[in-house]
Symmetry: C2
Subunit: 230 residues, 2 copies
DNA sequence: TAGATTGTTAATCGATTAACAATC
DNA sequence: TAGATTGTTAATCGATTAACAATC
Protein backbone atom coordinates (compact mmCIF):
# COMPACT_ATOMS: atom_id res chain seq x y z
CA UNK A 1 0.00 0.00 0.00
CA UNK A 2 2.86 2.42 0.69
CA UNK A 3 3.83 4.10 -2.57
CA UNK A 4 7.59 3.87 -2.23
CA UNK A 5 9.39 4.64 -5.44
CA UNK A 6 12.98 5.32 -6.38
CA UNK A 7 12.60 9.06 -5.80
CA UNK A 8 11.99 8.37 -2.11
CA UNK A 9 15.55 7.25 -1.54
CA UNK A 10 17.44 9.42 0.83
CA UNK A 11 14.40 10.41 2.85
CA UNK A 12 13.38 9.17 6.27
CA UNK A 13 16.43 7.11 7.03
CA UNK A 14 16.08 5.80 10.60
CA UNK A 15 18.47 7.33 13.13
CA UNK A 16 19.95 3.96 14.02
CA UNK A 17 20.80 3.47 10.36
CA UNK A 18 22.28 6.96 9.98
CA UNK A 19 24.59 6.25 12.91
CA UNK A 20 25.89 3.10 11.20
CA UNK A 21 26.46 4.52 7.72
CA UNK A 22 29.79 6.13 8.70
CA UNK A 23 30.91 2.78 10.07
CA UNK A 24 30.09 1.05 6.81
CA UNK A 25 31.83 3.83 4.94
CA UNK A 26 35.02 3.34 6.90
CA UNK A 27 34.98 -0.42 6.37
CA UNK A 28 34.48 0.07 2.63
CA UNK A 29 37.42 2.46 2.54
CA UNK A 30 39.56 -0.15 4.23
CA UNK A 31 38.42 -2.77 1.72
CA UNK A 32 39.12 -0.43 -1.18
CA UNK A 33 42.60 0.28 0.19
CA UNK A 34 43.21 -3.46 0.32
CA UNK A 35 42.27 -3.74 -3.34
CA UNK A 36 38.97 -5.52 -2.76
CA UNK A 37 36.55 -4.50 -5.50
CA UNK A 38 33.46 -6.52 -4.53
CA UNK A 39 32.04 -7.72 -1.24
CA UNK A 40 28.94 -9.47 0.03
CA UNK A 41 26.70 -8.18 2.81
CA UNK A 42 27.94 -11.12 4.87
CA UNK A 43 31.57 -10.04 4.43
CA UNK A 44 30.99 -6.36 5.10
CA UNK A 45 28.75 -7.11 8.08
CA UNK A 46 31.45 -9.31 9.60
CA UNK A 47 34.00 -6.51 9.17
CA UNK A 48 31.90 -4.05 11.14
CA UNK A 49 30.43 -6.53 13.59
CA UNK A 50 26.75 -6.40 12.69
CA UNK A 51 24.15 -8.84 11.49
CA UNK A 52 24.13 -9.08 7.69
CA UNK A 53 20.34 -8.69 7.57
CA UNK A 54 20.68 -5.42 9.42
CA UNK A 55 23.33 -4.24 6.99
CA UNK A 56 21.16 -5.07 3.98
CA UNK A 57 18.17 -3.38 5.56
CA UNK A 58 20.26 -0.29 6.29
CA UNK A 59 21.53 -0.15 2.72
CA UNK A 60 18.02 -0.64 1.36
CA UNK A 61 17.09 2.80 2.73
CA UNK A 62 19.62 4.34 0.34
CA UNK A 63 18.60 2.40 -2.74
CA UNK A 64 19.44 -0.84 -4.52
CA UNK A 65 23.14 -0.62 -4.99
CA UNK A 66 23.97 -4.32 -4.84
CA UNK A 67 23.74 -7.12 -7.39
CA UNK A 68 21.91 -10.29 -6.40
CA UNK A 69 24.12 -13.32 -6.54
CA UNK A 70 27.22 -11.12 -6.62
CA UNK A 71 27.31 -8.56 -3.80
CA UNK A 72 28.28 -4.89 -3.72
CA UNK A 73 30.83 -3.00 -5.77
CA UNK A 74 33.04 -1.53 -3.04
CA UNK A 75 33.88 1.76 -4.77
CA UNK A 76 30.32 2.35 -5.93
CA UNK A 77 28.69 1.60 -2.58
CA UNK A 78 31.27 3.71 -0.85
CA UNK A 79 30.48 6.66 -3.06
CA UNK A 80 26.74 6.25 -2.55
CA UNK A 81 27.08 6.21 1.23
CA UNK A 82 29.44 9.19 1.18
CA UNK A 83 26.96 11.10 -0.94
CA UNK A 84 24.09 10.16 1.34
CA UNK A 85 25.93 11.38 4.44
CA UNK A 86 27.00 14.53 2.64
CA UNK A 87 30.72 13.81 2.57
CA UNK A 88 31.09 14.65 -1.08
CA UNK A 89 31.10 18.24 0.05
CA UNK A 90 33.47 20.08 2.35
CA UNK A 91 32.31 20.99 5.86
CA UNK A 92 34.05 23.93 7.53
CA UNK A 93 34.19 23.42 11.31
CA UNK A 94 35.20 25.66 14.20
CA UNK A 95 36.51 24.48 17.54
CA UNK A 96 35.92 26.54 20.67
CA UNK A 97 38.11 25.82 23.68
CA UNK A 98 41.80 25.09 23.11
CA UNK A 99 42.64 23.09 26.19
CA UNK A 100 44.15 19.62 25.96
CA UNK A 101 41.09 18.23 24.26
CA UNK A 102 40.72 21.14 21.86
CA UNK A 103 44.34 20.76 20.84
CA UNK A 104 43.86 17.04 20.32
CA UNK A 105 40.86 17.77 18.10
CA UNK A 106 42.76 20.46 16.18
CA UNK A 107 45.54 18.03 15.39
CA UNK A 108 43.30 15.08 14.62
CA UNK A 109 43.93 14.10 11.02
CA UNK A 110 40.84 11.95 10.78
CA UNK A 111 38.60 14.98 10.30
CA UNK A 112 40.32 16.35 7.24
CA UNK A 113 40.29 13.06 5.37
CA UNK A 114 36.53 12.80 5.81
CA UNK A 115 35.52 16.16 4.42
CA UNK A 116 35.73 18.17 7.64
CA UNK A 117 38.05 21.15 7.64
CA UNK A 118 38.80 23.01 10.85
CA UNK A 119 38.81 26.64 9.77
CA UNK A 120 39.28 28.32 13.15
CA UNK A 121 40.24 27.71 16.77
CA UNK A 122 38.69 30.03 19.34
CA UNK A 123 39.33 30.59 23.00
CA UNK A 124 38.13 33.16 25.51
CA UNK A 125 41.55 33.33 27.17
CA UNK A 126 43.32 36.40 25.78
CA UNK A 127 46.73 35.05 26.67
CA UNK A 128 46.23 32.26 24.13
CA UNK A 129 45.30 34.52 21.24
CA UNK A 130 47.75 34.42 18.38
CA UNK A 131 49.25 31.15 19.55
CA UNK A 132 49.43 28.70 16.65
CA UNK A 133 48.00 25.22 17.17
CA UNK A 134 48.24 22.70 14.35
CA UNK A 135 48.81 25.47 11.88
CA UNK A 136 45.90 27.64 12.96
CA UNK A 137 46.05 30.75 15.15
CA UNK A 138 43.94 30.82 18.30
CA UNK A 139 41.40 33.61 17.84
CA UNK A 140 39.17 35.52 20.30
CA UNK A 141 35.89 33.88 21.21
CA UNK A 142 34.17 37.21 20.59
CA UNK A 143 34.99 36.92 16.89
CA UNK A 144 32.90 33.74 16.60
CA UNK A 145 30.03 35.27 14.64
CA UNK A 146 32.29 37.00 12.15
CA UNK A 147 34.47 33.94 11.61
CA UNK A 148 31.52 31.57 11.32
CA UNK A 149 29.84 33.75 8.71
CA UNK A 150 33.04 34.33 6.74
CA UNK A 151 33.66 30.63 6.38
CA UNK A 152 30.05 29.53 6.14
CA UNK A 153 30.47 27.33 9.20
CA UNK A 154 27.50 25.07 9.96
CA UNK A 155 29.19 22.77 12.48
CA UNK A 156 30.75 23.86 15.75
CA UNK A 157 32.69 21.83 18.30
CA UNK A 158 32.62 22.75 21.99
CA UNK A 159 35.72 21.69 23.92
CA UNK A 160 35.44 24.10 26.84
CA UNK A 161 34.90 23.42 30.54
CA UNK A 162 31.28 22.63 31.44
CA UNK A 163 30.55 26.05 32.91
CA UNK A 164 31.28 27.81 29.63
CA UNK A 165 29.50 25.40 27.32
CA UNK A 166 26.02 26.95 27.34
CA UNK A 167 27.38 30.42 26.56
CA UNK A 168 29.40 28.99 23.71
CA UNK A 169 26.36 27.15 22.39
CA UNK A 170 24.27 30.33 22.56
CA UNK A 171 26.93 32.25 20.65
CA UNK A 172 27.15 29.48 18.05
CA UNK A 173 23.40 29.50 17.55
CA UNK A 174 23.47 33.29 17.21
CA UNK A 175 26.19 32.92 14.60
CA UNK A 176 23.97 30.66 12.52
CA UNK A 177 25.57 27.36 13.46
CA UNK A 178 22.96 24.59 13.42
CA UNK A 179 25.00 21.52 14.36
CA UNK A 180 27.01 21.25 17.55
CA UNK A 181 29.33 18.54 18.78
CA UNK A 182 29.63 18.98 22.54
CA UNK A 183 32.54 17.53 24.50
CA UNK A 184 31.76 19.51 27.64
CA UNK A 185 30.01 17.51 30.37
CA UNK A 186 26.86 19.60 30.38
CA UNK A 187 23.39 19.47 28.89
CA UNK A 188 22.89 22.19 26.30
CA UNK A 189 19.62 24.01 25.73
CA UNK A 190 19.28 24.95 22.06
CA UNK A 191 16.38 26.06 19.90
CA UNK A 192 14.54 23.65 17.64
CA UNK A 193 16.35 23.04 14.40
CA UNK A 194 19.76 22.92 16.04
CA UNK A 195 21.27 19.44 16.38
CA UNK A 196 23.49 18.64 19.32
CA UNK A 197 25.52 15.51 19.70
CA UNK A 198 27.39 14.84 22.88
CA UNK A 199 30.61 12.99 23.51
CA UNK A 200 31.09 12.40 27.19
CA UNK A 201 34.19 10.55 28.25
CA UNK A 202 33.24 9.91 31.84
CA UNK A 203 29.74 8.75 30.92
CA UNK A 204 31.29 6.14 28.64
CA UNK A 205 33.49 4.96 31.50
CA UNK A 206 30.51 4.88 33.84
CA UNK A 207 28.57 2.67 31.46
CA UNK A 208 31.55 0.30 31.31
CA UNK A 209 31.82 0.37 35.10
CA UNK A 210 28.17 -0.61 35.45
CA UNK A 211 28.69 -3.73 33.35
CA UNK A 212 32.06 -4.43 34.92
CA UNK A 213 30.49 -4.36 38.36
CA UNK A 214 28.02 -7.07 37.32
CA UNK A 215 30.80 -9.31 36.05
CA UNK A 216 32.85 -9.45 39.22
CA UNK A 217 30.47 -10.63 41.95
CA UNK A 218 29.67 -14.31 42.18
CA UNK A 219 26.67 -15.41 40.15
CA UNK A 220 24.69 -16.60 43.19
CA UNK A 221 21.43 -14.69 43.67
CA UNK A 222 22.14 -13.50 47.15
CA UNK A 223 22.07 -10.01 48.58
CA UNK A 224 25.71 -10.46 49.57
CA UNK A 225 28.36 -7.77 49.72
CA UNK A 226 29.85 -8.73 46.38
CA UNK A 227 33.11 -6.98 47.17
CA UNK A 228 36.42 -8.58 46.35
CA UNK A 229 39.33 -7.91 48.64
CA UNK A 230 41.79 -5.49 47.08
CA UNK B 1 2.46 -13.02 36.53
CA UNK B 2 6.10 -11.92 36.72
CA UNK B 3 7.28 -12.36 40.31
CA UNK B 4 9.20 -9.12 40.70
CA UNK B 5 10.16 -8.41 44.26
CA UNK B 6 12.47 -5.94 45.93
CA UNK B 7 15.44 -8.30 45.72
CA UNK B 8 15.23 -8.05 41.91
CA UNK B 9 16.33 -4.46 41.93
CA UNK B 10 19.58 -3.90 40.17
CA UNK B 11 19.09 -6.73 37.71
CA UNK B 12 18.16 -6.54 34.06
CA UNK B 13 18.30 -2.80 33.69
CA UNK B 14 17.75 -1.99 30.00
CA UNK B 15 20.80 -0.69 28.14
CA UNK B 16 19.05 2.54 27.22
CA UNK B 17 18.42 3.16 30.91
CA UNK B 18 21.98 2.31 31.92
CA UNK B 19 23.25 4.89 29.42
CA UNK B 20 21.09 7.58 31.03
CA UNK B 21 21.89 6.88 34.67
CA UNK B 22 25.22 8.76 34.53
CA UNK B 23 23.37 11.74 33.07
CA UNK B 24 20.89 11.74 35.93
CA UNK B 25 23.74 11.37 38.36
CA UNK B 26 25.50 14.44 37.00
CA UNK B 27 22.30 16.50 37.12
CA UNK B 28 21.71 15.44 40.73
CA UNK B 29 25.27 16.44 41.63
CA UNK B 30 24.64 19.87 40.13
CA UNK B 31 21.40 20.20 42.09
CA UNK B 32 23.13 19.13 45.30
CA UNK B 33 25.89 21.68 44.70
CA UNK B 34 23.22 24.34 44.31
CA UNK B 35 21.77 23.38 47.67
CA UNK B 36 18.62 21.76 46.28
CA UNK B 37 17.57 18.95 48.60
CA UNK B 38 14.43 17.70 46.85
CA UNK B 39 13.29 17.56 43.26
CA UNK B 40 10.40 16.18 41.25
CA UNK B 41 10.77 13.91 38.23
CA UNK B 42 9.48 16.81 36.15
CA UNK B 43 12.24 19.07 37.40
CA UNK B 44 15.05 16.56 37.00
CA UNK B 45 13.78 15.48 33.60
CA UNK B 46 13.78 19.08 32.39
CA UNK B 47 17.36 19.50 33.60
CA UNK B 48 18.60 16.56 31.53
CA UNK B 49 16.24 17.06 28.60
CA UNK B 50 14.14 13.89 28.79
CA UNK B 51 10.48 13.06 29.21
CA UNK B 52 9.55 12.80 32.88
CA UNK B 53 7.76 9.51 32.31
CA UNK B 54 10.95 8.07 30.90
CA UNK B 55 12.89 9.31 33.91
CA UNK B 56 10.44 7.73 36.35
CA UNK B 57 10.48 4.47 34.40
CA UNK B 58 14.28 4.49 34.40
CA UNK B 59 14.41 5.07 38.16
CA UNK B 60 11.82 2.38 38.75
CA UNK B 61 14.35 -0.22 37.59
CA UNK B 62 16.52 0.70 40.57
CA UNK B 63 13.80 0.69 43.20
CA UNK B 64 11.29 3.04 44.75
CA UNK B 65 13.42 5.89 45.92
CA UNK B 66 10.88 8.70 45.57
CA UNK B 67 8.00 9.89 47.73
CA UNK B 68 4.60 10.33 46.09
CA UNK B 69 3.36 13.86 46.31
CA UNK B 70 6.84 15.07 47.22
CA UNK B 71 9.51 13.94 44.76
CA UNK B 72 13.02 12.64 45.25
CA UNK B 73 15.59 13.42 47.91
CA UNK B 74 18.52 14.63 45.83
CA UNK B 75 21.31 13.25 48.01
CA UNK B 76 19.61 9.90 48.53
CA UNK B 77 18.75 9.35 44.87
CA UNK B 78 22.24 10.42 43.88
CA UNK B 79 23.76 7.85 46.20
CA UNK B 80 21.46 5.10 44.94
CA UNK B 81 22.34 5.76 41.31
CA UNK B 82 26.05 5.97 42.11
CA UNK B 83 25.82 2.65 43.91
CA UNK B 84 23.92 1.08 41.03
CA UNK B 85 26.53 2.17 38.49
CA UNK B 86 29.33 1.07 40.75
CA UNK B 87 30.79 4.49 41.47
CA UNK B 88 30.97 3.94 45.18
CA UNK B 89 34.10 1.98 44.44
CA UNK B 90 37.35 3.08 42.84
CA UNK B 91 38.13 1.97 39.26
CA UNK B 92 41.79 1.85 38.28
CA UNK B 93 42.18 2.63 34.57
CA UNK B 94 45.11 2.46 32.17
CA UNK B 95 45.50 4.53 29.04
CA UNK B 96 47.47 3.19 26.08
CA UNK B 97 48.67 5.69 23.47
CA UNK B 98 50.01 9.04 24.68
CA UNK B 99 49.41 11.18 21.61
CA UNK B 100 47.40 14.39 21.79
CA UNK B 101 44.25 12.53 22.72
CA UNK B 102 45.95 10.31 25.28
CA UNK B 103 47.44 13.39 26.94
CA UNK B 104 44.06 15.07 26.98
CA UNK B 105 42.59 11.99 28.64
CA UNK B 106 45.44 11.81 31.15
CA UNK B 107 44.84 15.39 32.22
CA UNK B 108 41.06 15.17 32.24
CA UNK B 109 39.94 15.87 35.78
CA UNK B 110 36.42 14.57 35.21
CA UNK B 111 37.56 10.97 35.55
CA UNK B 112 39.03 11.26 39.00
CA UNK B 113 36.01 12.95 40.49
CA UNK B 114 33.80 10.09 39.33
CA UNK B 115 35.72 7.22 40.83
CA UNK B 116 38.06 6.55 37.93
CA UNK B 117 41.75 6.71 38.65
CA UNK B 118 44.29 6.57 35.86
CA UNK B 119 47.03 4.38 37.28
CA UNK B 120 49.30 4.14 34.24
CA UNK B 121 50.04 5.63 30.84
CA UNK B 122 51.56 3.29 28.26
CA UNK B 123 53.07 3.86 24.86
CA UNK B 124 54.97 1.66 22.43
CA UNK B 125 57.31 4.51 21.50
CA UNK B 126 60.53 4.04 23.51
CA UNK B 127 61.49 7.69 23.16
CA UNK B 128 58.46 8.63 25.26
CA UNK B 129 59.23 6.27 28.13
CA UNK B 130 59.92 8.04 31.38
CA UNK B 131 58.32 11.26 30.19
CA UNK B 132 55.89 12.52 32.81
CA UNK B 133 52.37 13.41 31.68
CA UNK B 134 49.92 14.78 34.22
CA UNK B 135 52.03 13.41 37.02
CA UNK B 136 52.37 9.89 35.62
CA UNK B 137 55.41 8.44 33.83
CA UNK B 138 54.90 7.00 30.36
CA UNK B 139 55.67 3.30 30.59
CA UNK B 140 56.45 0.63 27.98
CA UNK B 141 53.50 -1.01 26.29
CA UNK B 142 55.13 -4.38 26.90
CA UNK B 143 54.63 -3.90 30.63
CA UNK B 144 50.85 -3.80 30.20
CA UNK B 145 50.12 -7.22 31.70
CA UNK B 146 52.30 -6.62 34.75
CA UNK B 147 50.91 -3.15 35.39
CA UNK B 148 47.31 -4.20 34.85
CA UNK B 149 47.67 -7.09 37.29
CA UNK B 150 49.52 -5.04 39.89
CA UNK B 151 46.79 -2.43 40.00
CA UNK B 152 43.84 -4.75 39.43
CA UNK B 153 42.89 -2.84 36.30
CA UNK B 154 39.57 -3.88 34.75
CA UNK B 155 39.12 -0.93 32.40
CA UNK B 156 41.49 0.05 29.61
CA UNK B 157 41.41 3.04 27.29
CA UNK B 158 42.82 2.82 23.76
CA UNK B 159 44.03 6.14 22.37
CA UNK B 160 46.40 4.83 19.72
CA UNK B 161 46.25 5.14 15.94
CA UNK B 162 43.81 2.76 14.26
CA UNK B 163 46.46 0.35 13.03
CA UNK B 164 47.66 -0.41 16.56
CA UNK B 165 44.26 -0.70 18.23
CA UNK B 166 43.61 -4.41 17.70
CA UNK B 167 47.03 -5.38 19.07
CA UNK B 168 46.43 -3.21 22.10
CA UNK B 169 43.01 -4.75 22.62
CA UNK B 170 44.47 -8.24 22.36
CA UNK B 171 47.12 -7.38 24.95
CA UNK B 172 44.50 -5.87 27.24
CA UNK B 173 42.35 -8.98 27.01
CA UNK B 174 45.40 -11.15 27.74
CA UNK B 175 46.10 -8.99 30.77
CA UNK B 176 42.63 -9.69 32.15
CA UNK B 177 41.03 -6.40 31.20
CA UNK B 178 37.35 -6.93 30.45
CA UNK B 179 36.15 -3.42 29.63
CA UNK B 180 37.66 -1.31 26.88
CA UNK B 181 36.97 2.27 25.84
CA UNK B 182 38.21 2.63 22.28
CA UNK B 183 39.02 6.02 20.77
CA UNK B 184 40.80 4.55 17.76
CA UNK B 185 38.75 4.56 14.56
CA UNK B 186 38.71 0.80 14.14
CA UNK B 187 36.39 -2.08 14.93
CA UNK B 188 37.83 -4.32 17.64
CA UNK B 189 37.40 -8.07 17.75
CA UNK B 190 37.24 -9.25 21.36
CA UNK B 191 36.14 -12.47 23.03
CA UNK B 192 32.74 -12.80 24.64
CA UNK B 193 32.62 -11.30 28.10
CA UNK B 194 34.72 -8.29 27.13
CA UNK B 195 32.79 -5.04 26.74
CA UNK B 196 33.92 -2.48 24.22
CA UNK B 197 32.59 1.03 23.93
CA UNK B 198 33.69 3.22 21.10
CA UNK B 199 34.07 6.97 20.91
CA UNK B 200 34.57 8.06 17.35
CA UNK B 201 34.97 11.75 16.72
CA UNK B 202 34.63 11.70 12.97
CA UNK B 203 31.59 9.45 13.08
CA UNK B 204 29.88 11.98 15.33
CA UNK B 205 30.69 14.74 12.86
CA UNK B 206 29.43 12.60 9.99
CA UNK B 207 26.10 12.05 11.73
CA UNK B 208 25.80 15.81 12.20
CA UNK B 209 26.73 16.37 8.56
CA UNK B 210 23.99 14.02 7.43
CA UNK B 211 21.34 16.02 9.27
CA UNK B 212 22.92 19.32 8.31
CA UNK B 213 22.77 18.35 4.65
CA UNK B 214 19.02 17.79 4.93
CA UNK B 215 18.50 21.21 6.46
CA UNK B 216 20.10 23.25 3.73
CA UNK B 217 18.39 22.25 0.49
CA UNK B 218 14.98 23.72 -0.29
CA UNK B 219 12.04 21.68 0.94
CA UNK B 220 10.63 21.06 -2.54
CA UNK B 221 10.42 17.37 -3.43
CA UNK B 222 12.44 17.57 -6.59
CA UNK B 223 15.48 15.60 -7.63
CA UNK B 224 17.37 18.86 -7.95
CA UNK B 225 21.04 19.40 -7.30
CA UNK B 226 20.48 20.84 -3.86
CA UNK B 227 23.86 22.54 -3.86
CA UNK B 228 24.25 26.07 -2.59
CA UNK B 229 26.86 28.26 -4.20
CA UNK B 230 29.90 28.67 -1.98
C1' DT C 1 20.68 -24.07 -15.38
C1' DA C 2 22.49 -24.13 -10.42
C1' DG C 3 24.42 -21.46 -6.90
C1' DA C 4 24.80 -17.27 -4.64
C1' DT C 5 23.26 -13.21 -2.69
C1' DT C 6 20.29 -9.25 -2.56
C1' DG C 7 16.17 -6.66 -1.11
C1' DT C 8 11.99 -7.13 1.45
C1' DT C 9 8.59 -9.08 4.39
C1' DA C 10 6.84 -10.06 8.69
C1' DA C 11 7.62 -11.52 13.26
C1' DT C 12 9.88 -10.24 17.38
C1' DC C 13 12.05 -7.52 20.54
C1' DG C 14 13.07 -3.39 23.13
C1' DA C 15 12.27 1.55 24.14
C1' DT C 16 9.20 5.40 24.68
C1' DT C 17 5.34 7.72 26.43
C1' DA C 18 0.56 8.99 27.89
C1' DA C 19 -2.39 8.06 31.34
C1' DC C 20 -3.71 7.09 35.90
C1' DA C 21 -4.26 4.52 40.27
C1' DA C 22 -1.68 4.62 44.42
C1' DT C 23 -0.33 7.32 48.05
C1' DC C 24 2.30 10.88 50.41
C1' DT D 1 -9.03 16.44 53.18
C1' DA D 2 -7.10 18.40 48.67
C1' DG D 3 -3.19 18.77 45.88
C1' DA D 4 0.88 16.85 44.20
C1' DT D 5 3.71 13.44 42.45
C1' DT D 6 5.30 8.78 42.17
C1' DG D 7 5.44 4.08 40.20
C1' DT D 8 3.25 1.20 36.86
C1' DT D 9 0.35 -0.16 33.14
C1' DA D 10 -0.58 -0.58 28.50
C1' DA D 11 -0.44 1.35 24.04
C1' DT D 12 2.62 2.86 20.59
C1' DC D 13 6.64 3.37 18.21
C1' DG D 14 11.04 2.09 16.27
C1' DA D 15 14.82 -1.30 15.64
C1' DT D 16 16.36 -5.96 14.91
C1' DT D 17 16.45 -10.23 12.67
C1' DA D 18 15.13 -14.70 10.45
C1' DA D 19 13.41 -16.20 6.42
C1' DC D 20 12.74 -16.26 1.62
C1' DA D 21 11.20 -14.76 -2.99
C1' DA D 22 13.47 -12.28 -6.54
C1' DT D 23 17.09 -12.38 -9.57
C1' DC D 24 21.89 -12.02 -11.04
Amino acid sequence: MSARNSADHGRDIPEATVARLPVYLRALTTLADQGTSTCSSEHLAAAVGVNSAKLRKDLSYLGSYGTRGVGYDVAYLRYQIAREIGLTQDWPVIVVGIGNLGQALASFSGFRSRGFRIVALLDADESRHGEVVSGLPVEPFDDLARIAREHGVAIGVIATPAHAAQDVADAMVDAGITSILNFAPSVLQVPEGVDVRKVDLSIELQILAYHEQRKLPVAADVDGVGEVSA
